[in-house]
């Protein structure tokens, strides 16, 4: 008994009476493990099978081979990258411009911020339906306006070479408000001293932007890039509401291929699509986030 006495000061409380009990993890863990971790783990196995929810026959890597051999499926794969890069690139550039503009002493600043941000909160399906009508090749508002200027507008969603980019454009319309807000939050955090010091050194507005604002907005840029890349790679609902992957398979992305294969009853193939998406997202986002955030750890 006496041997335990010297140990007491090191562990003042046993694990059961810590004021911060580990079992607080358990309720959340149950949901997370049952509905996220187990399915994710199981997907690795089921992607190697022909599967109808009841019977799974092991077929090796056939699903993945099929995924990369069938042109329709492969197009979904390449489109995912195009879509994600176009949307996140545009969100960074436009978000930065709008962020700088809406942090300046512009009139009606509050109004403009609200207007730019509101689409972020609107139902994606609602936005998709609305823009499907606005981008209608014959009666749509966009082409009607273009026609008054004598320009013949293209079939935004019906032209195979344009459909994916049109949807990406609407995605930017809906999401640029969030990028703008993140940039505004980043701008507010920049100390005014830097600008005053630069003024003494005779810097103009462009110098200020290029040598002070832009470098100090790096964390904001990292956030915008990562968020919109993750969102862009996983994007499904807007594409599904506007084109359903059409015309043909020209605006399919991995997420819509997953749904189509699921609808068709090819559960193994659908799950393989999920695994592909998982690998793509992890392979892009993890190194990128380490690279973008490398400066922060040092400071």
């Amino acid at each position: 008994m006496t041997t335990t006495a010297p140990r007491l000061p090191r562990r003042r409380r046993g694990p059961g009476i810590s004021p911060y009990p580990t079992w607080f993890y358990i309720p959340a863990g149950v949901f997370y493990i049952a509905l996220f971790l187990i399915p994710t783990g199981a997907s690795l196995y089921f992607s190697l099978t022909r599967w109808n929810l009841f019977d799974a026959t092991f077929i090796g890597f056939d699903n993945f081979v099929q995924f990369f051999q069938e042109p329709a499926l492969l197009q979904g794969f390449t489109n995912t990258f195009i879509y994600a890069f176009v949307t996140s690139g545009s969100k960074v550039v436009l978000g930065l411009l709008l962020g700088v503009l809406l942090s300046s002493q512009i009139v009606a600043r509050g109004f403009l911020r609200s207007v730019v941000f509101f689409p972020v909160l609107v139902s994606t399906i609602g936005v998709g339906i609305t823009f499907k009508v606005l981008l209608d090749p014959f009666d749509g508002l966009v082409n009607t306006v273009l026609a008054t200027f004598g320009i013949e507008g293209p079939g935004w969603l019906t032209d195979p070479s344009l459909a994916l980019l049109s949807v990406a454009m609407v995605d930017v319309w809906k999401g640029v408000g969030l990028a703008t807000l993140i940039y505004i939050a980043g701008m507010v955090a920049i100390p005014q001293d830097y600008f005053e010091a630069a003024k003494v050194d005779g810097a103009n507005a462009w110098n200020n932007f290029w040598h002070i604002t832009l470098p100090l907005l790096r964390p904001a840029t990292a956030t915008v890039v990562l968020l919109s890349l993750i969102g862009g790679l996983r994007s499904f609902d807007l594409i599904w509401a506007m084109t359903r992957g059409g015309p043909g398979f020209t605006s399919d992305v991995v997420a819509s291929v997953i749904y189509k294969q699921y609808q068709g009853g090819f559960f193994g193939l659908s799950t393989a699509g999920n695994v592909v998406l998982f690998i793509v997202v992890a392979a892009l986002v993890v190194p990128l986030s380490l690279w973008l955030n490398r400066g922060e750890k040092e400071s």
Binding site: S123, L227, T271
Partner: protein, 276 residues
């Protein structure tokens, strides 16, 4: 003087551009929702010659045996239940994760980040739900939202708990509070501002969600509002006025949220984002 003129012209240009780009689509929704069926089918951006706004509203609400009312009820239950569970469980994890150093920390932090990044595997999730007999049920969808949304909540709560001084915990412990009382009557009330943020952001997300509802609560009868809107779009292609009335109704709840919780939404979306 010149600077000021520049600012005003710049502002004016920005206002006009923002109206053209961001507000015209919403005006289009309202105008089309107020038109008669023939006029709406022209898809024009024009003033309705005949306002039938309330007739359309009544027609949408009554359509197919009040399906929209049921859908709104379903969405309300879904949003309230999943956000409530998420907030309590997420706060518990975020709190212990910030306060206690243990060998679990690394694992939990990793799982939280994994939950933010990894796209959920849909068909295996259906497989699990079917095993639990929760597939195609509202509780099933609620639990799915909880599982997928927890990561975001935990990050926000962990960051906020760090700002609460530990002396407070110690005082409560000396006063004889056990772990449960310490958390639920001392810490949880102090989290109020971040709780509001989490509630608002997640409520908007869950209410607007389409993908998970499509996979885990398919069908038409028991659907959520987003699903009803989607089904409505594919079924009645000629009734654009009613379709846009539906879009308008679904846009209203987030608008109301935004008007009342503008600050919290902005705080949550940007701060949570910076941490992620």
């Amino acid at each position: 003087m010149k600077n000021r003129a520049l600012r005003f012209t710049g502002g004016a240009v920005a206002i006009v551009a923002s109206i053209l780009i961001f507000i015209v689509p919403f005006i289009f929704i309202v105008l089309t929702a107020a038109k008669t069926q023939q006029e709406a089918s022209l898809l024009e951006f024009s003033w309705p010659t005949e306002w039938v706004f309330f007739e359309n509203l009544a027609q949408v609400v009554e359509a197919r045996d009040f399906i929209l009312v049921r859908a709104f009820a379903n969405s309300a239950i879904l949003t309230i239940a999943s956000v409530a569970i998420m907030v309590v469980l997420g706060a518990m994890v975020g709190y212990v994760l910030q306060r206690r150093r243990s060998r679990w920390n690394g694992l939990v932090n990793f799982l939280v980040l994994a939950g933010l990044i990894i796209p959920p595997a849909v068909v295996p999730t259906i497989w699990v739900l079917q095993g639990l007999e929760l597939f195609k049920t509202l509780p099933g969808l609620i639990f799915v939202h909880v599982a997928f949304g927890l990561s975001f909540c935990i990050l926000l709560f962990r960051a906020f708990v760090a700002t609460i001084p530990r002396e407070l915990d110690e005082a409560a412990i000396i006063d004889g509070a056990g772990p449960l009382r310490l958390f639920f009557s001392v810490i949880f009330p102090l989290l109020r501002s971040v709780i509001v943020t989490v509630i608002v952001v997640q409520a908007v997300f869950v209410f607007n969600d389409f993908t998970y509802a499509l996979y885990f609560l398919p069908g038409d009868e028991n659907a959520t509002v987003q699903l009803t809107l989607y089904n409505f779009q594919s079924q009645s292609l000629s009734q654009w006025n009613l379709l846009f009335m539906d879009v308008l109704l679904i846009t209203l709840p987030p608008l109301v949220m935004y008007i009342f919780f503008n600050r919290q939404i902005v705080a949550g979306m940007t701060s949570g984002a910076v941490k992620g």
